[in-house]
């Protein structure tokens, strides 16, 4: 495969960004940013967009990609906070937009879900599957709805745990212990949330609440406030738990 056929544009603010960047590089892809789009315009074979919390920013990025990339370049976009169908509706070439969704850490994801928009062309879906498989992941194609399957179910478990903490029904630590020891969860929901990033978790629940309009998807106020305060979990040293800031080594 030539360098040109392995050039991918990656953009977005989700914690997925840095992990995807690393994984793409490991798999031999050349990764360019949105700022580098112009000079690599003819070499880019795939665009991956991963903003979830700020949907205005997402819209601006998608429109820029759609306006500048040749119409045959597929745009893979996270359908975590918004449906792929709505993202596609922002573009001039909706057939090239396809949704996907997962959560960090990617090393723990054997499988990544893909959700084609109503407008997605079959050939674009095939390319999306092949692309994610080239990154060493199995794929499962599901119908387009906010949060797909795993991110949606896990976020709602985390939301319920957040209500439970907020109401002082139990401590975060006891909730995590209970779910691991009483029902064999791989992680407690709150330590899991801190690892994923509360911003992505909140973006999913807010999206479900906005689109489906049900009390069932009401975000826990504590979760919303933690995100507003920038306490998004491990990567900001604070979320449901407090983490020790890492010491910088100058050696």
């Amino acid at each position: 495969m030539t360098t040109a056929s392995k050039t991918v544009l990656l953009t977005g603010t989700s914690p997925l960004y840095s992990e995807l960047l690393q994984l793409l590089k490991e798999k031999g892809y050349r990764v360019v940013s949105l700022a580098e789009m112009a000079e690599n315009r003819t070499e880019i074979r795939f665009a991956v967009e991963v903003t979830n919390l700020d949907l205005e920013l997402k819209k601006a990025a998608i429109r820029e990609l759609d306006g500048k990339l040749p119409a045959n370049v597929p745009i893979l976009t996270t359908s975590l906070a918004i449906t792929a169908t709505e993202v596609a509706s922002w573009t001039q070439c909706p057939a090239r937009v396809c949704g996907f969704g997962t959560l960090v850490p990617l090393a723990e994801r054997e499988l990544i879900e893909i959700a084609p928009a109503l407008q997605t062309a079959p050939s674009v879906l095939e390319q999306a599957e092949a692309f994610l498989q080239s990154m060493g992941k199995q794929t499962e194609v599901v119908v387009d709805e906010i949060g797909l399957v795993f991110p949606r179910i896990l976020s709602l478990i985390i939301n319920e745990a957040a209500f439970t903490v907020m109401e002082r029904t139990a401590t975060a630590q006891d909730i995590d212990t209970a779910m691991k020891k009483g029902t064999n969860y791989p992680y407690g929901p709150l330590e899991w949330a801190d690892q994923i990033g509360l911003d992505d978790v909140y973006a999913i629940i807010r999206g479900l609440h906005r689109d489906l309009g049900e009390e069932r998807y009401r975000p826990a106020p504590l979760l919303r406030k933690l995100v507003l305060a920038g306490r998004v979990g491990k990567r900001s040293n604070q979320g449901f738990y407090q983490y020790e800031p890492k010491e910088v080594s100058y050696r």
Binding site: T102, E108, R109, E110, L111, I112, E113, Q138, E140, V142, V143, E145, L148, V149, F150, R152, I153, L154, L156, I157, N159, E160, A161, F163, T164, E167, R168, T169, A170, T171, D174, I175, T177, A178, M179, K181, G182, T183, N184, Y185, P186, P189, E214, E215, R216, R218
Partner: protein
């Protein structure tokens, strides 16, 4: 406070399992049930488990005999009067539990700790109107009790902080991992786990993904040991539905806990999972 004698009420699966947990730690247990057949079954269960322990070289024959003899089957509640701690594990019927606790408050010392293994009833309601309600707490084991490490120590409205600490320490002494939770519907596990089943059912109902797809995604993408549908089949779809209904009702119909019609139809059709040979998957072949 040292624990010398424990009473366990109800000798069904949970009660017998709890008695075994206590006896293995060297506690004398009065295992109470009004039904002699149930007591006999509990004793054969204890013998069976302890014999396996001997076969596997975990304990000696002598230890098996000692542990077995620590559990004394009784039918008369008056024999629990010297118990330091009583754990009730009878079927989940409020009136039955209330009457048992009313009797216990008369039989037992006022400094005894009275615990209920309820998973769905309010501790505060069970203890309501009884004398020394500060000693009545929830103590929720998970099935099978000898295997699952968690115990939810449930603080009723009237439970004293001192007794919460006692119950917590007692769970530790039994080799369990205790957590403390306020008296709220579903406590921690049965509440926080609801979306695992409910949202999977909703995703199925909305036509987003199929049963086997959802299970595959939750295990391979999520790292869960079992998918939500194979897990429902194992637990029993009727049991799972009843838990959801109970949490939903007791949260005064909070939308987050709304039960699924798909699940209800499965129950109505008698497709309850592995135990009936068919649930979300077919086990008849």
């Amino acid at each position: 406070m040292a624990v010398h004698s424990i009473g366990v009420i109800g000798a069904g699966t949970m009660g017998a399992g709890i008695a075994l947990v206590c006896a293995r730690k060297g506690h004398r247990v009065h295992l109470l049930d009004t039904n002699q057949d149930v007591l006999n079954k509990a004793q054969s269960y204890l013998l069976e488990v302890l014999s396996k322990d001997v076969q596997k070289g975990r304990i000696s024959k002598q230890q098996k005999e000692q542990t077995y003899r620590l559990v004394v089957p009784v039918q008369d509640m008056a024999l629990l009067k010297e118990s330091d701690i009583v754990i009730e594990a009878v079927p989940e019927r409020l009136e039955l539990k209330k009457s048992i606790f009313a009797s216990l408050t008369e039989v037992c010392r006022s400094d005894s700790l009275l615990l209920t293994n309820t998973s769905s009833l309010s501790i505060t309601e069970i203890a309501g109107g009884l004398t020394h309600a500060e000693r009545i707490l929830g103590f929720h084991f998970f099935n099978p009790a000898p295997v699952m490490p968690l115990v939810e120590v449930v603080r009723g409205k009237q439970s004293s902080e001192q007794n919460v600490t006692r119950a917590y320490q007692f769970a530790r002494d039994l080799g369990k991992v205790p957590v403390v939770v306020a008296d709220t519907p579903g406590f921690i596990v049965n509440r926080v786990a609801r979306p695992y089943y409910n949202e999977a059912l909703r995703i199925l109902g909305d036509g987003i993904a199929e049963v086997d797809q959802i299970d595959r995604i939750m295990t391979l993408a999520g790292g869960f040991k079992m998918g939500p549908f194979e897990l429902q089949d194992m637990i029993g779809i009727d049991i799972n539905f009843a838990t959801t209904e109970s949490v939903y009702t007791n949260f005064f119909h909070e939308g987050r806990f709304k039960p699924s019609r798909i699940q209800q139809r499965m129950v109505q059709a008698g497709k309850l999972g592995r135990k009936t040979g068919e649930g979300f998957y077919d086990y008849s072949k």
